[in-house]
């Protein structure tokens, strides 16, 4: 049987879920942009292959 207390915790957990999933996507998108930028700024040079 679902208690009132459990339901209150569940609602808090839902809020954390929304913020958490949004947060991870934002972080990963920022990292994606960082990787693209670093790759553009520092492309692999031919000398580095040798």
């Amino acid at each position: 049987m679902l208690t009132h207390e459990a339901f209150t915790v569940f609602k808090e957990a839902l809020k954390v879920t929304l913020s958490g999933m949004a947060g991870i996507f934002i972080f990963m998108f920022i990292f994606y942009l960082a990787v693209l930028t670093m790759d553009r700024l520092f492309p692999k040079k031919i000398e580095e292959d040798d």
Partner: protein
């Protein structure tokens, strides 16, 4: 005579059950090679602490206070893990970073389910983090939020990581069609500069630290290990972090966690719930990754679509998950080579799981 029989007389059925659990973990570690580096020390430690009147508990308690309650052991392990990770595959296809986010869905779904089962928010978050598929992150979060549940959470996290080849395929097959599993993805054969690889751990630590300072310990130690690897001038330290440091701390971490596996703490209904919730977390991680890839495919042209199975590799269990996806791809089409893409998603999952841990620590009050 009483001196020799005191231990036997004090033995309870619960302690006997725990010794069987310990023996089972040792069996799984040796005979089945399920995460032996952790399950064997945990199993042996469980045997030691459940022997009546055991003197081992005292020593293990000292280690627990010094290494787990201070969060030292999981953080030191991160240096070793960081030194083992090669981020080159991510530079080849950075879009796959997003799968490292989607495949953390199981963490949050499980947290919600655990809250409905009567756990408080901090306990529910610690149970959910089993879905990070990353032992040190689970231990780190559980230590901060619910160290009374550390034993079952650690056992569940490491056991399910070893069971990824059994857990993921049925979930993936349920959510994808044969045609979707046949999708071939473009190869990205470009090279990555050394400068970019050196800057990557520094930039990531800075960005993560600015946005969520509480995650700096987790991401910082991981990235410090990676910098040792990539800088090119500290090979000796990088090797020490990958081998000696990681091995020593793993031994201490495993046997110390076992100190929480006494019969009275472990043999409770909540342990069974946590073990069940761990499975839920891994299933919904996999589902989250696959469904996110299918969602992205709705907007992509033919020839540019993702194989949805690659989304499932966004969990942190490296490199098992990538191998599972590659094998499933070849099962659907013997000439479909998904290993490189799955490895990229898998590496993204390693970052994603640490970020998820940091966010949980920031958001749960």
């Amino acid at each position: 005579m009483e001196v020799f029989t005191a231990g036997l007389m004090a033995l309870t059925w619960k302690q006997m059950v725990m010794m069987i659990v310990g023996a089972l973990l040792i069996y799984l570690a040796i005979a089945k090679e399920y995460e032996p580096t952790l399950l064997l020390p945990i199993g042996f430690g469980a045997l030691m602490v459940n022997i009546p009147l055991s003197s081992a508990q005292e020593t293990l308690d000292i280690l627990f206070k010094a290494g787990i309650l201070t969060e030292l052991f999981p953080l030191l392990i991160f240096i070793g893990i960081g030194a083992m990770i090669d981020f080159t595959p991510l530079f080849k296809n950075p879009k796959l970073l997003l799968f490292g986010a989607a495949a953390q869905f199981g963490i949050f779904f499980t947290m919600c389910m655990a809250s409905l089962c009567g756990f408080n928010l901090k306990e529910a978050a610690s149970i959910g983090i089993i879905g990070a598929a990353d032992g040190p992150t689970s231990i780190y979060v559980a230590t901060k939020f619910a160290h009374n549940l550390l034993g079952p959470i650690s056992v569940a996290a490491y056991s399910y990581m070893a069971l990824v080849p059994i857990i993921q395929p049925p979930v993936i097959k349920l959510l994808t069609t044969q045609n979707e599993r046949r999708i071939r993805m473009e190869s990205h054969a470009k090279s990555v500069s050394k400068t970019a690889l050196i800057l990557f751990p520094i930039v990531l630590t800075f960005l993560a630290g600015i946005v969520a300072p509480v995650s700096v310990a987790l991401i910082g130690f991981l990235m410090f290990g990676n910098l040792l690897r990539e800088c090119g001038v500290l090979n000796k330290l990088s090797n020490a972090a990958q081998n000696e440091l990681a091995s020593i701390v793993t031994i201490l971490l495993g046997i110390t966690i076992a100190s929480t596996m006494t019969a009275e703490k472990f043999l409770t209904p909540s342990t069974l719930l946590i073990i069940a919730m761990g499975l839920v977390a891994f299933i919904f991680d996999t589902a989250g990754g696959v469904l996110f890839a299918k969602f992205l495919n709705l907007f992509l042209k033919k020839g540019k679509k993702f194989n949805p199975m690659v989304g499932a590799a966004g969990i942190s269990a490296f490199p098992m998950s990538a191998r599972v996806i590659h094998n499933l791809g070849r099962e659907a089409d013997p000439f479909n080579y998904l290993l490189m893409h799955a490895t990229s998603a898998n590496v993204a999952g390693q970052i994603g799981s640490v970020i998820a841990g940091g966010l949980i620590l920031s958001l749960v009050k």
